[in-house]
Symmetry: C2
Subunit: 299 residues, 2 copies
């Protein structure tokens, strides 16, 4: 495994690989790797010749009162883990090289960036879209892999790649969870055992929501209430939002229909936790006139 | 010469050309070609294997009260001219394919985009940066060519390519002028002969500015006053701005020193005209202590 910390050297290597006809996958991360990241790399390895993993704690996506400084970092451990996951190139750029003095270009995916987590974290997704555009520019991958855990990020990156005609395939893998169901996150390292135990309520409430939907509940309000109800009796957890939205537009879905994202964000102490599930209601569960309408569109 | 109007077909062709090891130049235009555009294409042809010229009147860079609808278009004539200039691929995408329903991603080069023409045309350079990023995504050129006439555009695109690590070389060619000195522009077709005659004042005032500087004038205020003085007695012309700015930051340069952009924008009737020159004061014309300082930096 090559470890590269220079933007120019990474770009040159990528150029050489492409000239050799190799396909390149990029797995962008902020490091402090966990099984979620490693699953992304292993999946990438199955489908491309060269897997590049970037590790970059991106200041542009942290708010002034957020945890940029204290975000967990462990380069040595990350390097070992990346190696075992089959990463071919570990790209470790510096903040100074990524955002040199006078840096001023930002990519904004409007509409999708100011809802859900974007409402509580203004500028966050502008920072995400910008750094991913930069990484795409440097590595020029054929495919990139993102986790479903950061569902809004995934939807925004997919929209950016499509709108800006980047010609890069954006793949996702299901959220990797700890034994109890807690979504893996580098930020889980901030949590005490008690906080972790209470944080399980997030996933359990999402499971409950899914089960309500399978039983026929279609009213988003009722489902959201049920989720909030399961979380609110955990003293260490403060809900930021519980939302059910269309997976394309991120607009509130008042009724469960087609593919919806059920997303939860909460604070455990100062630690921000997010989780989500996607529910894709099969057509046979839709009201009859809706099925008819969809068939007509297809025909 | 291939004429392609589909984004997907253009992207596929570009992918094939790159696989064949061909270098690609892109010359982005809004059509209604004149000698300026053709010089860009001819220059590109000398340095790359394949010259792609795009013709796209980009709605995202026109304000609501600007001339998007009436912007001159002549596809047949453009096709003939592009062919004679050695263009290999004429890319002619539709607005519908470039900005499909739900389009929402924009690139903004902050700081550089809200001064000079950006002050009078809010959102203009966001539209320019976005469409150029899209064209770069589709064509994935090695080099692109822009005219010096649109100096602010050139500086912004160069900054965008650098900030977003696009790995694309941005070249410029000097402004091509009509016999009297009027900078070539598709919008000149809006002008009457009398208006054209008066519009010459723009270039003449810039020549005057340059001559003042060569004679030792360093005070930007005095030079700007001289430029305005030469334009203001033309009844058909209304000055928008006359500015002397640093070519990197576009910030006002109170004193002529190093490389500065002297830029003029004016309206002739409803027609917006721009022109500029770049003055690069050789070191020997700088005050002695300044020369000393620069030498020290070099050493």
């Amino acid at each position: 495994m090559k470890v590269i910390d220079s933007v120019a050297r990474m770009a040159t290597l990528a150029r050489i690989l492409r000239k050799e006809g190799k396909t390149i996958a990029l797995v962008p991360t902020m490091g402090y790797l966990h099984e979620g990241h490693l699953t992304l790399a292993k999946t990438a390895k199955k489908h491309t010749d060269v897997v590049v993993m970037s590790i970059f704690v991106n200041p542009a996506q942290f708010g002034p009162n957020e945890d940029f400084e204290k975000y967990p970092r462990d380069p040595k451990r990350d390097e070992e883990l990346a190696r075992t996951a089959g990463v071919d190139v570990l790209f470790y750029p510096s903040v100074k090289e990524m955002y040199p003095g006078g840096y001023s270009t930002y990519v904004n995916v409007e509409g999708l960036s100011d809802v859900l987590c974007g409402a509580s974290r203004p500028g966050h997704f502008r920072g995400v879209a910008t750094v991913v555009a930069k990484l795409f520019g440097i590595v020029k991958p054929d495919i990139t892999y993102f986790g479903q855990k950061d569902a809004q990020q995934l939807i925004i990156i997919r929209k950016m790649a499509q709108d800006l005609n980047m010609g890069i395939e954006i793949k996702s893998i299901p959220t990797v969870r700890e034994a109890g169901g807690l979504a893996m996150s580098s930020r889980n390292s901030y949590l005490s055992e008690d906080q972790k135990e209470e944080a399980l309520a997030l996933f359990r409430s999402l499971e409950k929501a899914e089960s309500l939907i399978r039983q026929g509940e279609k009213d988003s309000k009722k489902i959201i209430a049920a989720i909030k109800n399961m979380i609110k009796d955990k003293p260490s957890i403060k809900i930021d939002y519980v939302s059910i939205v269309d997976t394309k537009t991120l607009k509130d879905a008042d009724t469960i229909s087609g593919e919806v994202l059920i997303a939860v964000a909460a604070l455990s102490g100062e630690t921000r936790l997010i989780d989500n599930i996607i529910v894709n209601l099969p057509a046979q569960n839709l009201p009859k006139d809706e099925i008819k309408k969809r068939k007509e569109v297809k025909a």
